[in-house]
Subunit: 141 residues, 2 copies
Amino acid sequence: MNDLLERLRERGWRLTSQRRVVAEVLGGEHVHLTAEEVHTRATARLPEISRATVYHTLGELVTLGEVLEVATDGRARRYDPNAHRAHQHLVCSGCGAIRDVHPHGDPLAALPDAERFGFTVTAAEVTYRGLCPDCRPRQGG
Amino acid sequence: MNDLLERLRERGWRLTSQRRVVAEVLGGEHVHLTAEEVHTRATARLPEISRATVYHTLGELVTLGEVLEVATDGRARRYDPNAHRAHQHLVCSGCGAIRDVHPHGDPLAALPDAERFGFTVTAAEVTYRGLCPDCRPRQGG
DNA sequence: ATCCTAACTTGGACTTTGTCCAAGTCAACA
DNA sequence: TGTTGACTTGGACAAAGTCCAAGTTAGGAT
């Protein structure tokens, strides 16, 4: 995630301790954290960082295209630091676990012009759903 | 949407005026309403219907598989009465408008076994994003 | 090294969205 | 027409996110 800090500096970001910590938290775990989870982890490193700053910083990272916002369940948004490699998400309906996955082909190609209704379509987000090995009932258990 | 009320009765649903109004609101507009929007429209027909009942009824319709819950933005969940025909969603990044669309092929097929990590994958939800004709900047304006 | 200032951070109030509960009401069967 | 369990209600509460005025500070200028 040093890359990230580097890129941000090049874009004129003022590098505060709060921003550094948020970036480190996101880069340090290959999971998809909510804003509150980022705040909790950030607090461990920088006790007085505020919720407002975490929300604001995450929003900026999303705007800059360095982090992806994913809405898999209609509850808290989650933040995905893997914004530079196209991928989709596989979500466990049991425990909510999320994995990055790489389907083949471009999902955009499956949408014919006649189904675009004049929209300029630029992206396709796919959420695969199912049960992970831990949540699936075992056979002959 | 009489079909819906019919099916619900067959499943032993008690047909109250509140439930009838929620079902009518959902069936009456081919849009994707939030719970609050459903409540507002329901209130026009049945002034004293409560938020709690609207939320509860929507949840039941989802459980019964008669209505789909869609989370396109990490804000309010939206409810899609078109649960009996497979489809995906096209969302305008400008105004949030949502359209049902029908891509060809099965998006599930694009996810190879090696990318399923032991999950039992049962569904794929696709959200296409772009700008609708009203939100797209005009050329030669 | 230090100063300056626009940019950043903070705490808390507030909003939106959703859940839960005890008490009251009513649809549907007998 | 009466009965009863299922349904509805208002309000309190919780979770997630936004906003703001006041205070702090990174980093260029001197």
